[in-house]
Symmetry: C2
Subunit: 254 residues, 2 copies
């Protein structure tokens, strides 16, 4: 076996410290013991927002719990600022997709928004968070995006922080091209941006008009083809990372 970095990487809610113990619940214990067939003494990576990334060794698995002993810190904790993504829930597979890709693309908050044409009002926040956790484990993040409870578009408009730009992805072409919108942002405000993607079928015209009148809203367009809601959301996050975010940095932890 390689003496390199362990391949398995798990998010752990408990505090991590040298020689400390961590108990993993059913889902993660099953994954380690039965999916990955990890044996006693083998190492995995564990991480969380507060303590960074640590090496830990499997001590024992029994009755659906796994006991790990924490070894050495490999990465110190670090804030991972990123934009917020506000999206109108679509079908389940697309929500899974949005949660996974947005996490890989460094989003800091996932926030469902109900619009006039939103078809799905039943969204499982647990499922959304689990997808985000899995994606964070896989892509090497140290933090998990916050998952916020759904909000109506009207309530969002009323409660939005005035100093944070909200970029509305307007499929009617009412905005400037997204790279021009992002280039015009000053860097400090841009790191706090939010992106709002509409539902399948688009925003209602009345919604777009109301949004356009808000002082913190900028509308952006994503070209001549009609993108699906989740494609637009992901495309906006990619543009943000490429133009403003951290894509000038090398891969983490290599």
């Amino acid at each position: 076996m390689s003496a390199g970095k362990p391949k398995i990487r798990l998010y752990v809610g408990q505090r991590l410290a040298a020689a400390g113990e961590v108990t993993l619940g059913d889902r993660q214990a099953h994954y380690l013991a039965h999916v990955m067939r990890l044996s006693r003494g083998q190492a995995v990576l564990v991480f969380n927002d507060q303590d960074g990334e640590w090496r830990a060794r499997l001590e024992d698995v029994a009755r659906g719990r796994a006991l790990m002993v924490v070894d050495a810190q490999l990465r110190v904790p670090r804030a991972e600022p990123g934009p917020w993504l506000l999206f109108s829930p679509v079908k389940k597979s697309s929500i899974d997709f949005v949660a996974e890709k947005a996490t890989e693309l460094g989003v800091s908050r996932l926030w469902p928004v109900y619009t006039v044409r939103t078809q799905t009002r039943r969204i499982s926040l647990d499922r959304l968070r689990n997808r985000a956790v899995e994606a964070a484990e896989q892509c090497g993040r140290l933090t998990i995006p916050e998952v916020w409870r759904p909000i109506s578009l009207a309530a969002l408009a009323e409660n939005w922080p005035n100093d944070r730009p909200l970029v509305v992805l307007d499929e009617h072409g009412g905005g400037r091209p997204i790279n021009k919108v992002l280039e015009a942002f000053s860097i400090p405000s841009a790191t706090h941006a939010g992106f709002l993607a509409g539902p399948e079928g688009g925003f209602a015209v009345s919604e777009l008009d109301a949004l356009a009148a808000l002082p913190f809203v900028t509308r952006a367009s994503l070209g001549p083809r009609i993108l699906r809601s989740e494609t637009a959301a992901i495309a906006a996050l990619v543009c943000w990372q490429a133009l403003i975010g951290d894509w000038t940095e090398p891969p983490a932890g290599r």
Copy 2:
């Protein structure tokens, strides 16, 4: 009913001309008659690469065939140049995803590539093409991306056209940030670019070394997080469209 543009939009391989007839096969006939419950005389949009987009009316549905009569041309045919996407086949749902999103993002060729670590060597080109057709119908394209037969990485390197840049998405951080890579391209060559995304688990080091030595290859990095293969592919196409492609244009046909 609205007198506006028909909502249903179908790709049709037959030639389209005023007063001409078009016969749709089983899949499309079923879709019109049973999924969309279209009645005789109702209009749909039909399009192809050679003849552009036309309005057509349902004349008859019987025995798994639908007869349409072509009415007026709404959009003239137009080339839709876009980059090529070369990707290592991953699991089926991810291939579907790549075909759909890449088509929405204006790719002109989908080309599977087998690398050392490619896990899946069974890929259905029919399925790939069907997903691309459906996405083209939905997003308003006039053309369908070409679907090419899988090629080995070695054969690709030997047969690649020298005047076309090939951007390798290098998850080891061996390249410059992708927006810097794209900004350095001259526009005529950039419209002919290809993007190569590696398999799950990444390229082998020997593959990356061989690729880096080719005169037409540029390596690009996509930041500190480890993106899944299909996320990297889509992210590259988004960057290309935002920085070089047609995203300065308004939505088509509105």
